[in-house]
Every structure is written in structure tokens, then in C-alpha cells.
């Protein structure tokens, strides 16, 4: 079982290794933020101090520390600590506050703050400069070691970044399993986004209700589906190479997207547009939920339905499939329609994430999508491949990009590394399946 899993999803191991690798490299001291950390501090203060004690909550000017200090101050007031003061600012502001307390002649019982403030020189100098405050305690949530990579916000960023590519890769996997290729998906992203947002603009613009957004999405997706159907028909009926057919569609769809908007972006879009790409349902980002649903459905479709099996058969040996009664032409049209619908949906997600429809989005995406599929273990010669492998492939690409961003590697270097990793992953896959690199190395060793 494990072995089968490894052979089917060997790339999963690579993904895990990459995650471990980036986790180790981005391991850093983390300071707790938010209400849990504040609650912990308040408990401590309640236990150790009287309500009349003077307590100073300090926050540095950044998006985590300042709200933390303010929140802490509010909560303490509520608990009855009436002599709580809140200081948000730079170290100098803290000095002014301390001077003020000293001038008023009060004692200082404690300074409660987030982790970054404890590193201020002012805090260390208190016993020296303010001997009367030498009994004051500095309280901060305990810091801990945790990789930046594995922070919740970062993991969500990884999904956000890959969701469009991953959705389209579902259709591309099916196309590639039939030994085809679909180069048009990048342009269809733009076409769908432009058509969708144009409809939203024409049917109410900013004030348009949610169902208009849905209608825009549907029309955008279906337009792509029709384009894909035409492409599939040309491939199936006239035996034009998929590469050429979809290359032509790629050019035409891109041009069409620009023609529709006159080259401009569409900004007058409904407020409900970002819901799909940026919103949450039940606490889960919609994009994540969408990915899970689509991949589960596609996996079941490919592994457990008749049409799924036919797709593999057509790619494995078209003639043998035909002579076994498989409706080959229908299967081919079907996969191109699915691929284009997926690209259309990808366009809707992209428009929703960017909150606009722009004709120049999705450029080069077809190549990233193909890379995800191939890294995921699907053979370009057709007949074999796994949907979940593609998901892993998409994540490998996204994780590498994200990890390099966290490590501060510049974007030109990133492209070189990404290209090399894709090539390496595919070589590894060939070696695992008993061909390619291993055989080559063995031969070399023998001579």
C-alpha cells in the first residue's frame, strides 16, 4: 500500500521534503499576537498586582504590536485596573510617559507589552535612569520558535498563489492524459475574466447584486467552454495537432480579450466580486474550499467512472481504444471542453482576486500549468497520470516560489531555480519509473 502510494504519488515525498527544507531555513523566534496572548498577560497581571497599581501597556508602531497594546489596555480597564496607561509609539514616547508618571509622583508596578518592545534599550535602562521604578516588572507573552513558512498566513498565501493554476491543471491533466496539450488556457483566463467583468459592469456596475456576479462568471466560463469545444472538435475531427490548434486559440483568445476591452482594464465591478477569490465561508477561504471540492470530484471522476477510464485508454492507445468501442472523438472533445471550462473558472478566480478584469492576466500560465501537471507525474506521451499528482505538482511549484520569497531570493534567480527544479523533478520521476536517468547511469557505469 505504502509502495503503491509512493509509486503513484512519489512527488508527494518531494513536496514534504521541500516543506521541511523551507521550514528549517525560515525557523525564527515568533512573538505571540492577538487575543490569546493578551488574555494570558491579563491573567498574570490579575494574579500578581492590585487594581490600584499603575500599569503601562506599550506598543511599537506596527500592525501587530500597536493593536495588541491598545487591546491590552482596554481589557485591563474593563477588569478594573483603573490606573492603566497605553503608550503606542517609538522608544521616545515611552520615555515621555515614564517622565510623566515620575512627575506625577506615582510608582510604576509593571510594563506590559508585546515581544518586540522588550528589546528596546529604554526598557533595559529603567533601573539606571529611573531608580524609583526599579521594582517595576516587564511583562510580555513568551516567545517561541516557529518557521515563518509554516505560519497560517503564509500557508494561505501559498494556496492563494497557486489556486488559479491548480484549478486549470485539472483540465490540463485530462488533456495531457489523452496525449494532447492545451496551450490556450492562459489566454482563456483573460477572456473569461474580461467577459465576466464586462457583464457585471453593464448590468449594474458597483451596485450590482451577487447574482449578477454569478451570471458574469457563468457566461465567462461557458464562453471558454464553447471555445474549447471548437478546439476539441478540430483536433478530433480534422486531426490537427493539439499543439497547433491550441496555439492558434491562444493567440485568438488573447486578441479577443484585448478587443473586448479596447486594451483597458474593467474597474467598475460589483462589491461582491472579491467574494470568490478573497472571501471566506465558515472560516475557510473560498479558494481552499473550491480546490478541495474540485480535486476530490476530478479524482473520483478519473478513477471511478467510465468516461475517466476512456480518457486513459484514448491516451494509451487511441486505435486500440477505438476498436474496443470507445467513442474516441467524443472523449477528445470532452477533455478540451473541461480544460477550457477550468481555464474559464481560473479567470473568474483571478478577476475576483484582483477585483478587476484585465486582458493581460494569465500570460505564461499555460506553461506553469503544464509544468504542474508534468511535475505531478503525468506523462506527456499520454495514457498515464494522476489528478492528485497534479495537485502535488502545483503545490511543489508554489512552495518553491513562496519559500524563495521568504528567503529573500530575487525574482530572476527564482526563475532559474524553478526551471531547474521542474527539470529535476521530471528526471527523478523517470528514474523512479525505471526508465531514463537510472538506466542511462547504469549503462555508463557498465562501460
Amino acid at each position: 500500500m505504502t509502495r503503491k502510494l509512493l509509486s503513484d504519488y512519489g512527488m508527494f515525498l518531494v513536496l514534504i521534503l521541500l516543506c521541511v527544507f523551507f521550514s528549517v531555513l525560515t525557523l525564527k523566534e515568533q512573538i505571540p499576537q492577538g487575543s490569546a496572548a493578551a488574555g494570558q498577560l491579563i491573567e498574570q497581571i490579575k494574579n500578581e498586582f492590585r487594581k490600584s497599581d499603575i500599569i503601562l501597556t506599550v506598543g511599537a508602531v506596527n500592525k501587530d504590536s500597536a493593536p495588541f497594546a491598545e487591546k491590552l489596555g482596554e481589557e485591563l480597564e474593563k477588569e478594573g485596573f483603573s490606573n492603566t496607561r497605553v503608550v503606542v509609539g517609538v522608544p521616545r514616547d515611552l520615555l515621555l510617559a515614564l517622565d510623566d508618571i515620575r512627575a506625577k509622583g506615582g510608582g510604576l508596578a509593571a510594563i506590559a507589552t508585546s515581544g518586540d518592545v522588550t528589546k528596546w534599550g529604554v526598557i533595559e535602562q529603567i533601573p539606571e535612569k529611573y531608580p524609583e521604578f526599579s521594582g517595576c516588572k516587564v511583562l510580555a507573552p513568551e516567545s517561541y520558535m516557529w518557521p515563518d513558512f509554516l505560519k497560517r498566513s503564509n500557508l494561505l498565501a501559498i494556496v492563494d498563489r497557486i489556486v488559479v493554476i491548480a484549478v486549470i491543471a485539472i483540465g490540463m491533466t485530462m488533456v495531457i492524459i489523452t496525449a494532447g496539450i492545451d496551450l490556450s488556457v492562459g489566454s482563456l483566463i483573460a477572456l473569461s475574466a474580461v467577459i465576466g467583468t464586462l457583464i457585471m459592469k453593464k448590468m449594474g456596475g458597483l451596485q450590482a447584486p451577487g447574482w449578477i456576479v454569478l451570471a458574469g462568471f457563468l457566461v465567462g466560463i461557458l464562453s471558454c467552454g464553447i471555445v474549447g469545444g471548437l478546439g476539441g472538435f478540430i483536433v478530433a475531427r480534422f486531426k490537427v495537432a493539439p499543439f497547433i490548434t491550441t496555439l492558434s486559440i491562444m493567440m485568438m483568445a488573447r486578441g479577443l480579450a484585448f478587443m473586448i476591452t479596447g486594451g483597458f482594464s474593467i474597474y467598475q465591478v460589483p462589491k461582491a466580486l472579491p467574494w470568490l477569490g478573497q472571501g471566506r465561508s465558515l472560516g475557510i477561504p473560498n479558494t481552499v474550499a473550491l480546490l478541495v471540492v474540485l480535486y476530490v470530484a476530478a479524482h473520483i471522476f478519473m478513477a471511478h467512472t467510465r468516461l475517466g477510464r476512456y480518457i486513459y485508454a484514448v491516451g494509451g492507445n487511441e486505435e486500440a481504444a477505438r476498436l474496443s468501442g470507445v467513442p474516441v472523438k467524443f472523449v477528445i472533445v470532452f477533455v478540451y471542453v473541461i480544460s477550457s471550462l477550468a481555464a474559464g473558472l481560473g479567470g473568474c478566480i483571478q478577476a475576483s482576486q484582483l477585483n478587476t478584469g484585465t486582458p493581460n492576466i494569465g500570460i505564461m500560465y499555460e506553461l506553469y500549468v503544464i509544468a504542474a501537471v508534468v511535475v505531478g507525474g503525468t506523462s506527456l506521451s499520454g495514457g498515464s497520470g494522476r489528478i492528485l499528482g497534479t495537485l502535488i505538482g502545483a503545490f511543489i511549484i508554489s512552495v518553491i516560489q513562496n519559500g524563495m520569497n521568504l528567503l529573500g531570493i530575487e525574482s530572476y534567480t527564482q526563475q532559474v531555480v524553478l526551471g531547474a527544479v521542474i527539470l529535476g523533478a521530471v528526471l527523478l520521476d523517470k528514474a523512479r519509473s525505471g526508465g531514463g536517468l537510472l538506466v542511462f547511469l547504469k549503462k555508463k557505469m557498465r562501460h
Partner: protein
């Protein structure tokens, strides 16, 4: 070649085979399909490295890891599928990869002169500037021979060279072969037409199931003895007998036409009978069956199934009308080689394994298990890839997938090609059983003894036309069929 040994996954293709070829000799290499002839040749030609054993040429041990190395060692192999590039001229093909150049430019005039010189040597007359696609098959073959000579080949191997030639063309080829022989070349001649072996070969070497059974002077051996060596037992028990009871008409074809391949073919097949189709390669038998099965579109013609006129537009239609076709090209058309046995088995049967929206894979596995047992298919698991099976087991998987459809009309196109003797017999028994069950069986075979031994009736085709029908195969000879075909 000494003690050559070679295995493929699942097959021990060559077991310690040694062969010796003298200068100025034609060695006939015979054996049933799958006996190891082509593997032996591929080892010699550098296409497959041997697992063990050595090759000596003129007493020197040579290492042949690639086709290029074979060429350098003086071995030229002329395969059934020629290695000529159709859009290049004869001259360009002969010098392909070894162009005569000066400062990077091809010296066409010199190449042309050399080509004509070669052609004179083997006594042929072909335009050196013609494109190879314009040549006849026989002409292409002589171009291959000229190409072999141009690299100073010492050994020329010909794999089934007459398979697609006319009788006159074959005669001309024999003249060329005798001429090459007199120039001191060694020639290995592979053919399953035994008459040719007796005509051109000095000695005959027999392979069976990867083993070297023996080598005999062609003058010292009879045809019967040679066949016995090939199949490993006396010949008369080759085909199992059964009771014949033809029933009503299952299939009737009227005036079926497609281009030059199939011309006005009409016949009928009855329930409970084995209808044999005999003829030379390219006689139009396979093409006819593809029309009946809906794999190609006929120009005209009518098909009646159980007396009802039926339109068969696609293989799917044919299957729906309870026809199945086991193609001659097992690997190219019968199986998806990179998929498992179970998946191949399921492919035409998925409609029966559907439950709701999904496939009932348990049912699929169970049914396949039954066939693995009843047909005695040797697989390591249901998930074994069909590319790793031996020819016989591949054919059994194909049989299983069609038997599971329980069709009424079963068309077998060369059902025993490339299959070992034991499995052949099993397939004959199976065909007989299916006939007894009341199915109409159509069997195409290029092995005349097989058609004669298995069929209740034989239809003879030649150049797309039906030339005659034999209703009494038991009292018919191979010569009768051949003379009917080319009459």
C-alpha cells in the same frame, strides 16, 4: 554467435543459442513465430544487447552495443519495415549518415556515380534520383540491399524479404541473393515460407521457444521433418477436431467495397461454423473485416446481422450488435500496452460494470479473475502491465476482453501469430468451443495449414476480391488454395 542468452520481462527469449555462418553461404533461419528468430537477429544487429554470450566475426570477438556498431562490424539487417526515408531520393538514402562531402557540401555527383556502380554490381536498374516513396516494395528492398553493400557488409540478414513481393519479384530477389553469395557474403535468410528455404538456403537452422533445435543441410532434410523440428511434435495432431453442425445465418455481407483493398465482397457466416479466410498478405481480408466491424467506412455494401440489415458506423456500433474483432496487430490495436491487464480487459466491457455513475471495480476484478483461471493467463497480478506479458498471454488478455462480451459473431484476425505452440493449441480448442456454442467464427490466417486444419469452409481472397470458396477443407491442399488465389 556463441551461447547467446536473452530475457525480457516474463519471457526467456533466447536460451544459449549458438549459430555459425560461413562465407558465401545462405543460412535459412526458421521457427514458429515467437521462437526467437527476430530476437537473435536484433542481438546481432545491436538493437538488443545480449544478457550473455559472444559474437565473433571472421574469428575476432566483436562487441555490438548499437545498430551503428553493427554496421561498422559489417552486419547489415534488412527488416520487414524498411529503414528508408520516403521523401529522400534513392541516392540520399543510400548515403544517409555517411554523405560524401567536401567542406560540408554534399558531393552529389560522386554519390550518384557510386550508386550506379552498386546497382550494376547487383544487376538492377533503378533511377538513383527517384524518391523512395515512388518505388515499389521490391525496388525499395533492392535499395536496402545496395545500401548494405555500400557499407561493405560482410553479413546481410533478410527478415521475411518476400512477405510483400509478387512471385516474379521474389524470383528476381533470389537471383540477387545467389549473386551476393558468389561474392563471398554470408546471408541469413529468415522466412516462414519453407519452399523458399529449400530454394535458396544451403543450410536451415531451426529455433523453437528460444532454443536452437538443430541445423541441417537443406539437401538432407524433408519438409515434414523441418516442420516437426519447428513445432516439436509430429504435425498431424496440430488441430483439434470437433463435431460440425452449422446452423442459421448469423452474418451476411453483400457487395462490400472500399477503394482497391476490398472489391465487391459478398459472403455469409453461419452459426456454429468456423469460416476461414485465406490469401496472401494484402489480399484484403483484414480490410474486409474492419469494414464489418465499423473500423473503416465502406464505399458501399450492405451488412445483415441475423437477417436484419444493420448499419455499423463505428466499432461501438459493432460491439452493440454483438460483433467483435480480435485484430492481427495485438500490440498496436488490441491492447493499451501501458495499462494493466485488468484495465485492458475492462475497456470494451465498462458498460456492464457501471453502477449508477461509478464503475463497480469489484465486479470487474471478479470477472477478470474467472478468465485468468479459465484461460490460464499467466500474470503476476491483475495490475501487471500488458507490455510485460509474453505474446501468448497478451493474446489471452485480448481473448478474455472479447469473450466477456459474449458476442455472436467473433472475427479472429491471425489469432495465433507470434504465439508459442502450446498456447496455439489452447486457442484452437477455444475457437472450437465457441463454434459449438453456436457463435459464427470468422478466422483469418496466413498460415495455410492452420486455415485448412481449423475451418469448416474457406473463402480465398486475392487483391481485394473473393476468388473462390472451399467447402471441403479436409480434402484440399495448400497448393489448391494458392492456385485458386492467383488463378
Amino acid at each position: 554467435m556463441r551461447q547467446i542468452d536473452k530475457s525480457f520481462p516474463g519471457v526467456h527469449a533466447l536460451k544459449n543459442v549458438s549459430m555459425k555462418l560461413h562465407r558465401g553461404e545462405v543460412l535459412g533461419l526458421v521457427g514458429e513465430n515467437g521462437a526467437g528468430k527476430s530476437t537473435l537477429i536484433k542481438v546481432l544487429g545491436g538493437a538488443h544487447p545480449p544478457d550473455a554470450g559472444n559474437i565473433f566475426i571472421e574469428g575476432q570477438p566483436v562487441h555490438i552495443p548499437s545498430p551503428t556498431a553493427a554496421q561498422q562490424a559489417g552486419v547489415s539487417i534488412i527488416y520487414q519495415e524498411f529503414n528508408l526515408i520516403p521523401d529522400l531520393t534513392v541516392r540520399e538514402n543510400i548515403f544517409l549518415g555517411r554523405e560524401k562531402t567536401r567542406m560540408g557540401f554534399v558531393r552529389a555527383a560522386e554519390e550518384h556515380r557510386k550508386t550506379l556502380q552498386l546497382f550494376r554490381k547487383i544487376g538492377i536498374n533503378i533511377d538513383a534520383n527517384a524518391r523512395c516513396s515512388e518505388l515499389t516494395v521490391a525496388q525499395q528492398q533492392t535499395v536496402e540491399i545496395a545500401k548494405a553493400l555500400s557499407v561493405n557488409a560482410k553479413i546481410i540478414v533478410m527478415d521475411e524479404p518476400t512477405a510483400t513481393l509478387t512471385t516474379q519479384e521474389a524470383e528476381r530477389l533470389f537471383v540477387i541473393i545467389r549473386d551476393l553469395k558468389s561474392h563471398g557474403l554470408g546471408i541469413i535468410y529468415i522466412s516462414h515460407r519453407l519452399d523458399e528455404i529449400f530454394e535458396v538456403a544451403d543450410r536451415a537452422m531451426v529455433l523453437r521457444d528460444g532454443e536452437h533445435v538443430g541445423t541441417q543441410d537443406a539437401n538432407d532434410i524433408t519438409r515434414e521433418k523441418l516442420i516437426e523440428m519447428m513445432v516439436g511434435r509430429p504435425v498431424e495432431s496440430e488441430f483439434p477436431k470437433r463435431a460440425i453442425s452449422p446452423g442459421r445465418e448469423r452474418l451476411r455481407v453483400e457487395d462490400l467495397c472500399r477503394g482497391k483493398a476490398v472489391r465487391n465482397v459478398s459472403f455469409s457466416a453461419l452459426a456454429g461454423e468456423v469460416l476461414g479466410f485465406a490469401g496472401l498478405v494484402g489480399a484484403g481480408r483484414t480490410e474486409t473485416m474492419r469494414l464489418i466491424f465499423g473500423a473503416d467506412k465502406p464505399d458501399k455494401g450492405r451488412i445483415f446481422i441475423d437477417g436484419r440489415k444493420t448499419d455499423v458506423r463505428s466499432p461501438g456500433d459493432a460491439i452493440h450488435n454483438r460483433i467483435c474483432l480480435l485484430t492481427e496487430d495485438r500490440k498496436g490495436q488490441g491492447l493499451v500496452l501501458i495499462h494493466s491487464c485488468r484495465e485492458n480487459f475492462g475497456l470494451p466491457n465498462l458498460d456492464r460494470f457501471v453502477r449508477g455513475m461509478f464503475l463497480d471495480q469489484r465486479k470487474e476484478r471478479q470477472e477478470f479473475s474467472d478468465f485468468v483461471e479459465s484461460l490460464r493467463i499467466k500474470v503476476s497480478s491483475h495490475e501487471q502491465l500488458t507490455m510485460n506479458l509474453s505474446g501468448g498471454n497478451q493474446q489471452k488478455v485480448v481473448l478474455a476482453k472479447w469473450l466477456a462480451r459474449n458476442a455472436d459473431i467473433m472475427i479472429f484476425d491471425e489469432p495465433t501469430r507470434g504465439i508459442d505452440v502450446g498456447t496455439k493449441y489452447e486457442i484452437y480448442l477455444l475457437i472450437n468451443r465457441l463454434a459449438v456454442e453456436g457463435k459464427a467464427i470468422i478466422m483469418i490466417s496466413s498460415e495455410l495449414p492452420e486455415v485448412l486444419g481449423m475451418s469448416d469452409r474457406i473463402i480465398v481472397m486475392h487483391e481485394g476480391r473473393i476468388k473462390g470458396e472451399i467447402t471441403d477443407p479436409a480434402n484440399t491442399t495448400q497448393e489448391d488454395i494458392l492456385s485458386m488465389a492467383i488463378a
